[in-house]
Subunit: 193 residues, 2 copies
């Protein structure tokens, strides 16, 4: 299964692609950052991100796109651009009939470091290790995009459907499952927004 | 000049089209609301809005698209969906090479009612009057979209470039010019978001 992760942003939009094989074996395929400058009009910036993401989807034909879930409580200076980039990623995927999964930053951090509050550098280090890369993934937006893809690949099955299987989760998986439950529609983010 | 106004929203996205002729004569061309339900996945909702707006742009081939400027301070439950719909409107316009203008709700209200704090029903009433329509424009999202188009058509020239011409503005136009200045990039909304 090919998973394309998107760390949405107006200035730097990270894109990371991995392949998830048997026994949760993960292989690195691609990483890139779509960049736009504040000197460019907003409509041109958004179009560049939309086209950039579309080109990656066409190139890698992922089975699923894993996008960071954006919360209204985030940094007021960047939250609208982040939400817009996330929206464009969703539309680019939907246009191609590719399913979309949303994961919170906490889930992504937990998945790669075991700590939902890990800092950027810890995420970069662990993403590099998990994917057996020779050099640290940089910038953090690129590592975050790969972390979102890894997060989707390694998500505990029990965390999705809830119920009995969660009893067998490790403490980190349990914490992650709790984070996922909290992020579900109806909790924190209303669906009719 | 044909102007297409967009009142962005995830549940109801208003679209209003007018023609602005000589001597600020305005004619009504079209009004509609693209609707999506909270039971639909977010990617499918955004795609429906994107396709709906694209179809209107192809049908009316406007010279400019006037979109409501979204602020991070707005209602937390709806601001992300609103920002995403506005982003999609910008991309749909940019894909077609149509210029985009952003206007604040205050500017739009001032333009049609002379009061930047007018309520929904006052905006509906005045839009209906300005465009010589026989029945009240409904829902408010439809009226807001037309108000954004009217706002762009009637914008005081002095308010755009600033400077000398503003001295000859009426008090309402002056108030509007001030509102525009406050809404400019670098004031209240950072461009690198």
């Amino acid at each position: 299964m090919i998973i394309l992760g998107v760390d949405p942003g107006l200035t730097r939009c990270g894109v990371g692609v991995i392949e998830a094989g048997h026994s949760r074996r993960l292989s690195f395929l691609h990483v890139d950052v779509v960049r736009t400058g504040p000197e460019t009009p907003q409509d041109a910036r958004l179009l560049k991100i939309f086209n950039g993401l579309g080109a990656k989807l066409d190139e890698f034909a992922p089975d699923v796109v894993s996008i960071e879930r954006v919360f209204a409580q985030e940094n007021r200076n960047t939250v609208l651009g982040t939400a817009q980039a996330a929206g464009l990623a969703m539309v680019a995927a939907a246009q191609r009939g590719i399913p979309v999964a949303l994961h919170t930053p906490t889930e992504a951090k937990l998945a790669v470091t075991g700590d939902g509050k890990a800092n950027k550098s810890q995420v970069q280090k662990m993403v590099t290790k998990i994917l057996s890369l020779n050099t640290i993934v940089n910038p953090p937006d690129a590592a975050d995009a790969l972390a979102l893809a890894i997060c989707h690949a390694l998500r505990p099955a029990g965390a999705i459907e809830g119920g009995e299987r969660e009893q067998h989760l490790t403490p980190a998986q349990k914490q992650w499952a709790d984070a996922q439950r909290l992020a579900r529609p109806g909790r924190g983010v209303r669906r009719d927004m």
